[in-house]
């Protein structure tokens, strides 16, 4: 099911949580809403689910306007951050709940409900635990029961709120791979919320980066990582370094020296240069490059991070060097960013 969010605004008691957000989710897609807390990602998810109503705008499921439909009518599978499993029901009863509350002919027989519950339990690899109660399960098992419960109603869309937020790192990684497998097998259109960029980039077909109630960028992991379109995305996704620069006649300058980057379309004036610390070319000598004095250096996994002091104003930037690079304290290093972007100075 294709989901379209059109110009949605949401206010909580006059406080805007989302400003005019639009988003197209393709059918069968696994999409991540990524952002820091307070960015509006959970609000957007709850709006799609029907747990909240938009202040303005509309949400379409396929061609149908779902905005005024109740959550029951929307037929979405929602997995809550803390799972919200019914503690007094067994695992099988939890999974079968959505079928049990149906009316009339839509309601399967008790036997059929049980059969479906066991089938889903098998899908989430928890066969044999149907008689357990939620309190008798580990966090990862509860997460999987919650997903099975949401899938039992054959939802049009699966929505997951911080699905791995409450789990420890090891279980998270396993469940991430497992969720991808389930998605590929069942083909549900799936939206999940996360504040963990690694999770979003690794798991999702496309990532929606959000900040302060707005969508900053939508794209594949490669798009988002390699060509961030705002300073926020640069700093929120992965590592980034920034330097205040000046643009004159299509050339980028630091203080009184051009640094060998040309920006023919950038307006002249103050700007901020953003680049990834690992995305740099080291150069010898310096005509048209950025040069700085090594102020600090530390070992990070397979590389070395050095902090350079640039120019008279001693701006600090971080770049990555090979471990065997001879840069020591107080030596000078010159480099030129390979991939970079200019944003207007704020």
């Amino acid at each position: 099911m294709e989901v379209r969010v059109v110009n949605v605004r949401k206010e909580f008691e006059r406080f805007p949580a989302l400003h005019d957000v639009s988003l197209d989710i393709r059918s069968g897609e696994l999409i991540a809403l990524l952002g820091p807390s307070g960015s509006g990602k959970t609000t957007l998810l709850r709006l799609i689910a029907g747990l909240e109503r938009p202040t303005k705008g509309a949400i379409f499921f396929g061609d149908e306007d779902a905005s005024q439909k109740s959550i029951q009518e929307r037929n979405v599978g929602f997995v809550f951050q803390h799972y919200a499993l019914f503690r007094h029901m067994t695992v099988a009863d939890n999974i079968g709940f959505g079928l049990k509350v149906r009316h009339g002919a839509a309601r399967p027989s008790g036997q059929e409900i049980r059969r479906r519950a066991l089938e889903l339990l098998d899908l989430v690899q928890l066969s044999g635990l149907e008689k357990r109660y939620p309190a008798q399960l580990s966090g990862g098992q509860r997460q999987r029961v919650a997903l099975a419960r949401a899938m039992a109603i054959e939802p049009k869309v699966l929505l997951l709120d911080e699905p791995f937020g409450a789990l420890d790192a090891q279980v998270r990684r396993e469940l991430r791979r497992w969720l991808r497998e389930i998605h590929d097998r069942t083909g549900h259109t799936t939206v999940f919320v996360t504040h963990d960029q690694e999770e979003a980039l690794e798991l999702a077909d496309r990532v929606v980066v959000m900040s302060q109630g707005r969508i900053e960028q939508v794209g594949t992991a490669d798009d988002i990582y390699d060509t961030p379109n705002s300073p926020f995305v640069y700093s929120f996704i992965g590592e980034s370094s920034s330097l205040p620069v000046k643009v004159e006649n299509g050339e980028v300058w630091i203080a009184d020296r051009p640094i060998g980057l040309s920006a023919p379309h950038a307006p002249s004036g103050e700007a901020v240069l953003h680049f990834r610390p690992h995305d740099v070319d080291l150069v010898d000598g310096c005509s048209g490059c950025i040069a700085g004095t090594v102020a600090a250096s530390r070992r990070v996994a397979g590389t070395r991070r050095v902090e350079l002091e640039i120019g008279g104003e001693r701006q600090r930037v971080e770049i990555e060097l090979p471990v065997d690079h001879p840069a020591a304290q107080k030596s000078r290093v010159a480099f030129r960013p390979r991939r970079w972007k200019l944003f207007p100075a704020t």
Binding site: N75, F86, V101
Partner: protein, 294 residues
Amino acid sequence: MADPEIKSYEPHHESQSAAVTESRPVKAVLMAFAFAFLAVFLLLPLIVVFHEALAKGAGAYTEALSSPDTRSAIRLTLLVAAISVPLNVVFGISAAWAIAKFEFKGKAFLTTLIDLPFSVSPVISGLVYVLLFGAQGLLGAWLKAHGIVILFAVPGIVLATIFVTFPFVARELIPLMQEQGNGDEEAALSLGASGWQAFWYVTLPNVKWGLLYGVLLCNARAMGEFGAVSVVSGHIRGLTNTMPLHVEILYNEYNAVGAFAVASLLAGLALVTLVLKTLLEMRYGAELAAARGH
């Protein structure tokens, strides 16, 4: 996939550190004092009640209990409890639902109002009804004109009982529901349940032990209430005498066996309530812990 060990929610008691443990004699004195106090002020009176009730033998005891007036008092007490407890269950659940799950203006005020019967003397509660429904009262003339009798009759007793017992269920449920939040209900709705189904299958089972606990306390108070009921009852034998009022009348008539026989029933009710309450606490302590605000 290897799952980490199964976690359970058993409450575990941390062993006390030596630093805060008193010496043996101090412990012994404290415990002896507590037990002695309870023995004198609680256990002894209880024994006296049963002793006096059975002072003239089991025959006199059953005879005292089978007198028509006593039987009528027992029937009335059961009737009053049978009306006021269910009403307070409905009220308690609605009030707790409203307070725990919604945000609205006047919420703090409503919470305070619910506690009012705890802070007002029961006699005052009774008097308020006299002022409201009595012959000289605010609504007295209108009621008389329409032939409705409230004061010095069963309706007045029921109203007074409802007033003094309405905090019990609500007070148990509010903290419990607040702690549980809306998550489970939202999950039920997202799975297609109607509001009523969500309440019936999810909310109610989530609070059932707290509710039962509240009902027990409410019932004990409804059957044992003296002050408020005494003011509005009129003490008409065989008609408007509840068990506590009947005990007083019998005692004032120097009918010790009769008085204590009825009292022994009330004491028995208290004991049963206490045992059930203890069982509930033992079995569902963790769930009730949230509700132990008072």
